[in-house]
Symmetry: C2
Subunit: 564 residues, 2 copies
């Protein structure tokens, strides 16, 4: 019998499931709980605001597997809610812990600060419910250990945020600590065997019969942790494999059968041709949102498609609810008869630098992204923001081991700045020495700029390319090319790191206006080492946009304008 | 017959009810609507992020009466939601307009960016419902004009945010423009006459019998627009009048019968003594939250209290639901027999500068706030942030005409920075030339710092005193005096305005570490003119706090810690 306090139990569980740093801000309803963070071996990040903290927790979870966010009742949690909603939308597991008034104050309906003045203490939990896969109100000591264990398991398994409401008077209630000796079961629930075998047989039947099958890997393959199965499948079958924009970096892009990024009309022509000629698409973890498909412009047929999901599988039009892709993929790897598979080829993928070179010194979107690909090294973490960056990166070929992060479905600008901090910190927490490189528009950067301060606070190795193109270029391409609302205030961006506390030893800043200047920087040895914070103001033309963005923007504008 | 587009109708209505500037950010679901902003004679603010935009809209509404906020579906509106919740909590009318996907896309359940991927397009409206006094989904052209007029009226009358969901395909639907010739009726609903007279008689009976009556003015007197009635009442009766922290600046503090700030144990002793000796408290628009009452430490009795509210009145324990204070107060002014009122006196209110002077050069909280009061001029706008500032300001006597803004109930840090921008802009929009002075803690400032950029963009006359005390002092006093989580990163605050685009002509920065230095600054002629942005890093001791904060923090900590 070893009693532990609720907060100690909770934070110890966080540590056990792999979390090492906790994002968030203090508030008087969580202060006592925060005393337990270091006790559980966790680092307190000390975020600058709750929205950034949520973005950072999102980035942390994408690299480390799961993350935690602590906020205070009302003001803190609602500041974070857009970031948590993004994690819900994009299947990222964040444990959101909200310190709230004591159950006594709640019962008495006290008119406390951070309330709406209505006496309703559940209203924020209710607002959080639609963006959380589980809501736990820790109100009864006898239930708390079960609630915590169950909630953390749900977070992991369903790969989405959970919401935990921790009243001040529960923080130091005693729980049975012996439970902590048994780790939370995070194993994927097994599929019903007969059903799973049935699906595998059907898939193999089609696969063995196909003349021209390909594999297409999308976001949910990453988020629902089937990359090992996917890699084994690619390795064993040597089938051509493509990724979607949200699936980018799921596949080693130097692999012989890697064929590029497929996004319908937004694809490179040879990629579109190859994918659309397939007589079987093994579509893994697909998430066919507008921007991920260049405006729903796929030209593949469901009759030629097998969909693998975390909650079900679909073979052509036959649905198999409740069958998780993980078990199915593993058995396909084990049972596929490679002698029955055709030997086909993939389009070669290279960074098309010279093809996109013109004879001006202007840094064009067309030239930059392939050139940037040549700068990247193995195991870099590359974060791109909604805007020209998220579409430009489609033209960047990654070295092996690169992790690419984007938020293409949710698309909340500012996300990337927080996510970069979280991702870089996760790399440190994993004991790895990776460069984290952010590509962010000037507009987006402004929303979340103070996250640079957290990068500085933890002395993270982050390189920021701020795309200086005088405003909201992506929006200009959708509507209002010259509209005032697409303009932003001209900041002196390179002064930002210093203002946020960076000392000259910890930060290097650059302004890059020409191709030559960029060449010099990208080949500079010091710059390549990327120690500390490096901040590059990168000039690109105001009205220039990547090919795929122009296509997608036009379709978006049409969808918006369509009337009956 | 003159058809107008929905967006033109909406923005014209905003102009008619007094809005001149619109806060917010573009997003592809609101771009076309934004084209109508200048057409309706409105200025687009071009905010830096949605939370700041909401804070700024809050500040704007507190000065101008009402404000507008435009965001985009999901990502934008949820970023703003904490700011809007604050306006709900504090009775501030903001018209929140959210550009959302077309009704066609919604019906088809398209997997669009900014969705949760669940096909539910009403989920954000549902999340907004608890913090909005009206939700309008503009989905049917035939209903839209009525919806808009009704929603704007509710916003004004109930003095709380409303939420308007504007699908892209509705923006240019035609409405009957002739409606615009008739302004929206914003008049307060009249009380039922017999009932109102009854309440007035009861009040007058007690008032005429009282030996020692006083008036206490709180937040809702300001927000529900009865200050004219209150001023007339004070003028006619010459009764001692006090304000609560949230009611501060509702009363001309140079008025002969003004007696100071009452907040129970947090009051100056002579104020507490005077208020608690009253045999009748005319309590107008009270909002007795923890921080507004120094931890529920009033020592007045309901048996001696008459409460005037926007939805009801209470005389001792007799309740009069549905009776709005406005009509009642007016009739009291008209019908009170001043010959029956006692002539009593109020404690004199002065800025106690010399009393709080010590012989060190350290700028103490005790000395600063009265000294700051001597710096203020008539008609200044003074914004204080949650933290030491919100409690310190209790010790500041305002000149006549000063508007004090604080967010004592909601207490979301960062609010003040946005609110300052909005308030200063409102002053400009009203054609007045007022100084706007912000007092904000270093911790709070970090959350919303980029709002300085908007202040610069519009060249607003704002003076910022950043209280540099190395972190979250208010939290230290509640719990964790030396805890790491109460520390923040040391920024170079005075570099911030330049980084955010201010040119040397538009900004002056100062670092003030001593009393002498502060004296010099506060008496400097240029500084007093306060043109453009002035930014003062003001050093105060890390562990120093205003008297009232220490009291309130202790009670808060106890309330949090209480267990059963
Ligand atoms: C929180 C939030 N607010 C508004 C938007 C709408 N939005 C999408 S992209 C964008 C502009 C991004 O501009 P920038 O970062 O400069 O990118 P670029 O110029 O490279 O396209 C805006 C305003 C959004 N997606 N998220
Ligand atoms: C959005 C939000 N996050 C967190 C809090 C909790 N909180 C209240 S006051 C405060 C510290 C304020 O510190 P500072 O602005 O430096 O004020 P001071 O040091 O003068 O007390 C914090 C973190 C809050 N009220 N709102
Ligand atoms: Mg840009
Ligand atoms: Mg401080």
């Amino acid at each position: 019998h070893k009693p532990v306090d609720v907060a100690e139990y909770l934070f110890t569980r966080l540590h056990q499931i792999g979390i090492r740093s906790v994002h968030g801000l203090p508030g008087d309803f969580n202060l006592v709980a925060l005393d337990y963070v270091p006790k559980a071996g966790l680092k307190w990040v000390g975020s600058v605001n709750e929205l950034n903290a949520a973005y950072a927790a999102d980035g942390y979870a994408r690299v480390k597997g799961i993350s935690a966010l602590v906020t205070t009742f009302g003001v803190g949690e609602l500041s974070a809610i857009n970031g948590v909603a993004g994690a819900f939308s994009e299947h990222v597991p964040i444990v959101h812990i909200v310190g709230c008034p004591s159950t006594i104050s709640q019962r008495n309906g006290m008119l406390l600060h951070h309330t709406l003045g209505t006496g309703d203490f559940n209203v924020y939990a209710d607002m959080n419910a639609p963006i959380s896969c589980e809501v736990a109100r820790l109100n009864k000591p006898s239930e708390i250990a079960d609630q915590i264990d169950h909630t953390l398991r749900e977070c992991w398994i369903r790969s989405r945020p959970v919401y935990i409401m921790l009243p001040t008077d529960m923080v130091q209630k005693k729980l049975e600590g012996q439970r902590l000796d048994t780790p939370i079961d995070l194993s994927e629930p097994k599929n019903e065997e007969e059903r799973e075998d049935y699906v595998v047989d059907v898939v193999l039947k089609y696969l063995h019969a196909a003349k021209n099958p390909i594999i297409l890997v999308d976001a949910c393959a990453v988020r629902h942790r089937v990359l090992e199965e996917v890699h084994d499948l690619v390795e064993k079958t040597q089938l051509p494999v493509f990724v979607t924009p949200m699936g980018k970096s799921a596949i080693n892009e130097t692999h012989a059968t890697y064929g590029g990024v497929y996004a319908g009309n937004g694809s490179q022509p040879e990629v579109a041709a190859r994918v659309e000629a397939a007589d079987l698409v093994l579509s893994i973890g697909s998430l066919k949102s507008d921007f991920n498909t260049a405006g729903f412009s796929y030209r593949t047929s469901q009759l030629n498609t097998i969909d693998f999901h975390s909650t079900h599988c679909v073979v052509r039009y036959s649905e198999y609810p409740g069958v998780h892709m993980k078990g199915v993929l593993r058995k396909i790897v084990d049972r596929v008869d490679v002698s029955k598979l055709p030997r086909t080829s993939s389009p070669p993928v290279v960074n098309k630098v010279s093809e996109n070179l013109d004879d001006s010194q202007t840094i064009t979107q067309a030239w930059f992204w392939p050139r940037f690909g040549e700068f990247l090294k193995e195991n870099d973490i590359v974060v791109t923001e909604t805007g020209t960056a998220n579409f430009g990166i489609w033209e960047t070929k990654f070295p092996a081991g690169v992790t690419g992060l984007n938020q293409t479905l949710w698309g909340s600008i500012g996300w990337s700045v927080g996510a970069t901090q979280g991702a870089a910190l996760a790399a440190v927490d994993m004991g790895t020495d990776r460069r984290t490189v952010l590509l962010v528009g000037d507009g987006s950067f402004q929303l979340a700029c103070q996250e640079v301060s957290t990068i500085v606070r933890h002395n993270l190795h982050v390189t920021i390319f701020l795309i200086y193109n005088e405003g909201f270029t992506i929006e200009r391409w959708i509507h209002g090319m010259d509209a005032e609302y697409n303009d932003i205030t001209r900041w002196k961006y390179t002064e930002i790191p210093s203002a946020f506390g960076a000392s000259p030893e910890n930060v290097k800043t650059y302004v890059v206006k020409t191709k030559d200047c960029l060449e010099k920087l990208l080949t500079n040895e010091e710059f390549n080492k990327a120690k500390g914070l490096q901040f590059v103001e990168l000039w690109m033309p105001k009205e220039d946009a990547p090919r795929a963005l122009k296509i997608t923007a036009e379709i978006s504008a049409k969808t918006n304008a369509k009337t009956e």
